[in-house]
């Protein structure tokens, strides 16, 4: 501990140089933090999605309608706990650019276990009781000033049996959605009310949400569902929510090669620059190090001093850079809603900083430790 002032004065021997190295390391780790944060953040988002909730949709496309009559057959598949039919359609409120996504669900027993919604129990109860009920995304309440008890008129491309494209629902509550894709302006309505009222496509759904009792059985249940409808007019494709998230975010995974190349390039450039600087600095300081050795400091002590200087600069700069990355990350994370920077990235960054400090200071430190007192005092290596 008592040698700390010595290390400290070594660091500030040439303040300009130290500040420049500090900034360079700082910049490199800020970039590392953002890029690695994107990559790890996406991987974490995927692992957080549920593997025990399946989505059954038409085999051709995600939005190819399926008949509601498949429900009973899906329900009889072993391991299936809840099957909830879902219909989706678009609507607008007041003006054509105020778009809303409407999710029609049937509130069957335990339906919430097949969704990623958070809804207060009293709202769920009110929703079940009132046919024209709607539960709105909490942010919609703010956006349009909707309150519980409001009667909200919507316009849709989907026509009612009367031919009218006007729809109206009664707000009975608000909900929050933790799902990856759950960032839109959406509201939930009763499937049965909607299906009876609409003119065309009666008795069809966009997909079924299926909750599985035991997550370990999810894959077999999914295969079994698809097998039941194979070679029928309504072939299905069953995927877990995790698989869906994976294929949605696959695209970002495709960028991994690019991200790795860039992070690699950043570190190569950084290590090269810092190692050169350290070397230069040690050469200039050889006479001073010679004085230290004359005073009785061992070779090992000199070695540790040099390494400690590098470690202090690198750790401080990496902490600064990663801190910067944490503050600018929300900007870069706009691409994927709900993305946040995992703290493991910070830990990995600090570990990298230790490694980089040792690599760039090792050779100069060995050089300093090995130098002969007489030669060092004369400024010769």
């Amino acid at each position: 501990m008592k040698f700390l002032p010595l290390v400290w004065s070594g660091i500030w021997r040439k303040p300009g140089r130290t500040v420049l190295i500090f900034l360079q390391v700082c910049v490199a780790f800020a970039l590392f933090g953002v890029l690695q944060g994107l990559k790890t953040g996406v991987e974490r988002l995927i692992s957080q999605t549920r593997a025990d909730v399946l989505l059954v949709h038409g085999s051709l496309a995600l939005f190819d309608p399926l008949p509601l009559s498949l429900l009973e057959q899906i329900k009889s598949v072993p391991g299936v706990k809840v099957v909830a039919p879902v219909e989706l359609f678009g609507a607008t409120y007041q003006s054509p650019d105020q778009k809303l996504g409407v999710v029609a669900v049937r509130p069957v027993e335990g339906w919430l276990s097949a969704f990623s919604f958070t809804i207060a129990p009293e709202y769920v109860e009110a929703f079940r009781r009132l046919r024209t009920a709607a539960i709105i995304r909490d942010r919609l309440a703010k956006k349009y000033g909707w309150k519980i008890g409001d009667h909200i008129p919507l316009l849709s491309k989907t026509a009612q049996k009367t031919g009218s494209t006007d729809w109206a629902f009664d707000v009975v509550g608000t909900y929050d959605d933790s799902d990856l894709g759950g960032s839109g302006d959406t509201l939930l309505i009763n499937y049965d009310y909607f299906d009876e009222a609409r003119l065309a496509d009666t008795g069809t759904v966009k997909h079924f949400k299926v909750a599985i009792a035991d997550p370990a059985m999810a894959a077999t249940a999914a295969d079994e569902i698809d097998r039941r409808f194979a070679n029928s007019a309504n072939e299905t494709r069953t995927e877990s929510m995790r698989e869906l998230a994976q294929s949605q975010l696959q695209s970002i995974g495709d960028l991994n090669f690019l991200i790795r190349s860039i992070v690699g390039a950043v570190f190569v450039a950084l290590l090269f620059a810092t190692a050169t600087m350290m070397m230069q600095s040690i050469r200039e300081r050889l006479p001073e190090l010679g004085v230290l050795k004359t005073l009785g400091f061992t070779d090992a002590a000199v070695f540790v001093f040099i390494l400690a200087e590098a470690l202090v600069i690198f750790m401080a700069a990496a902490a600064g850079g990663l801190g910067l990355a944490l503050t600018v990350f929300p900007l870069a994370a706009k691409i994927v809603p709900g993305l946040s920077m995992p703290l493991t990235v910070v830990a990995a960054g600090l570990a990298c900083a230790v490694f980089a400090a040792i690599v760039s200071a090792a050779i100069p430190a060995i050089l300093a430790a090995r130098s002969n007192i007489v030669a060092a005092l004369a400024g010769r290596p």
């Binding site: 300009g16 140089r17 420049l20 190295i21 900034l23 360079q24 910049v27 490199a28 800020a30 970039l31 953002v34 890029l35 085999s59 051709l60 496309a61 995600l62 939005f63 190819d64 054509p96 491309k157 070679n231 029928s232 007019a233 072939e235 494709r237 294929s247 696959q250 695209s251 970002i252 495709d254 960028l255 090669f257 690019l258 190349s261 860039i262 390039a265 950043v266 190569v268 450039a269 950084l270 090269f272 620059a273 050169t276 600087m277 070397m279 230069q280 870069a332 691409i335």
Partner: protein, 387 residues
């Protein structure tokens, strides 16, 4: 004259001195190489995307969609679409009928070649006069689809990206087998495009409306008149758009993300490389204190000294730019990246290399500025006394 002579003499001394300090020079080179390499390869993605998007866009193409809806996602009833045929300014096809293509787009599932990953790609139902609408479309294999049958024709890039697009391959759509009867070359476009007969596609997907209508005008200058005619017809509630605007709009978000990412990463790395260059040049200048003081003592002006250091810095940065662009070209040019579900062939163009060199010039000049000023300001007497 005197300025130039002094400058050249100094530059020669500086460059000769670099041989003694190869690591400092290499630091600048490596830093600039990495920064330019990253910028160029990221921008290559944006350039590749643009090249593909706008590759087949023609000025005489217009796209119609329902008012306020995106073309490709709107619903145009058949009778409304039929009324377009009678509008003025439309180019006539080989049989003398107006070149108006009714389109119905849906997405179906495909498998990526190699990985087997599932992906959804567009199938566009079109009227058979699409060959008049796309004169650059050439069949490399097979033939055109026949109206009313379950036949598909596919673009060349589909076969490269996805499985199941060889001639005579069949795929099931709602229990009915559709056969690939032709493969065509689509010019510059790299997106996978699959066409089938519009009526067959619409009946397969139980749809009764077109998702967009494409029109070829007699010439690009007819656009205003055509738009006026659509607006004047009370039976038509359609938006008339240039094809280029539709394509730009479709890719706006992707391009914004790609360019933001490229300049974000490029700028940060350039900042790092510039800092490294400043440090190295300071070290180089410091090691030359004695020489610099000597030349000042024998009458060299501060101007040539400043310029010589700046030029030295730029000369060190330029090879870095070339090396970086070269690496980007070797590693990434022609590589198909698929960020955000698009398939993009990266393109390292001369313009990008030029931009990389400009970027390097900036780094060299900024990095050289402070060290150059310090070099010119070295106090003659103290520096000489230090010998």
């Amino acid at each position: 004259m005197n300025f130039a002579r002094q400058f050249l003499a100094l530059l020669r001394v500086n460059l000769a001195g670099l041989v003694e300090r190869p690591t400092s020079a290499l630091t600048i080179l490596v830093g600039v190489t990495c920064a330019v390499g990253a910028l160029v390869s990221m921008l290559a993605m944006g350039t590749g995307a643009r090249r593909q998007e706008l590759g087949n866009v023609r000025a005489d193409h217009v796209i119609l969609g329902k008012t306020g809806e995106r073309p490709g996602q709107s619903d145009i009833p058949r009778d409304e679409a039929a009324a377009i045929l009678g509008l003025p300014g439309i180019s006539k096809g080989s049989a003398g009928e107006p070149i108006v293509v009714f389109e119905s787009m849906t997405f179906i599932e495909g498998r990526r070649r190699g990985t087997g990953a599932r992906i959804y790609f567009p199938v566009i139902g079109v009227t058979p006069n699409v060959t008049d609408y796309l004169p650059e479309m050439r069949f490399t294999e097979g033939r055109m689809f026949r109206p009313g049958l379950h036949e598909l024709i596919v673009g060349g890039s589909c076969g490269r990206q996805f499985a199941g697009f060889n001639l005579d391959d069949t795929r099931l759509i709602h229990g009915v087998a559709w056969t690939v009867v032709g493969r065509f070359d689509e010019g510059d476009a790299q997106q996978c495009v699959v066409y089938g007969d519009v009526d067959s596609i619409m009946s397969a997907f139980k749809s009764n409306t077109y998702t967009s209508v494409a029109v070829m005008l007699r010439s690009a200058s007819e656009f205003g008149a055509f738009r006026g005619a659509v607006a004047a017809n009370p039976a038509l509630h359609l938006d008339v758009l240039h094809e280029s605007d539709v394509v730009e709009d479709e890719f706006k978000q992707l391009n914004a993300i790609l360019y933001f990412a490229a300049y974000f990463v490029g700028s940060i790395m350039a900042l790092g490389a510039t800092l490294g260059a400043v440090n190295s040049l300071y070290a180089i200048v410091d090691s030359r204190r004695r020489e610099l003081a000597t030349v000042r003592a024998i009458g060299f002006g501060p101007g040539p000294i400043v310029v010589s250091v700046l030029v030295e810095s730029v000369l060190l940065a330029i090879p870095g730019a070339l090396l970086g662009s070269g690496l980007a070209w070797i590693l990434f040019n022609g590589l198909a990246a698929s960020p955000f579900g698009y398939s993009i062939r990266l393109a390292v163009t001369p313009a990008l290399v030029g931009l990389g060199i400009l970027w390097a010039l900036g780094m060299g000049l900024l990095g050289g500025m402070l060290p150059a000023v310090r070099a010119a300001r070295i106090p003659v007497t103290t520096a000489l006394r230090a010998i």
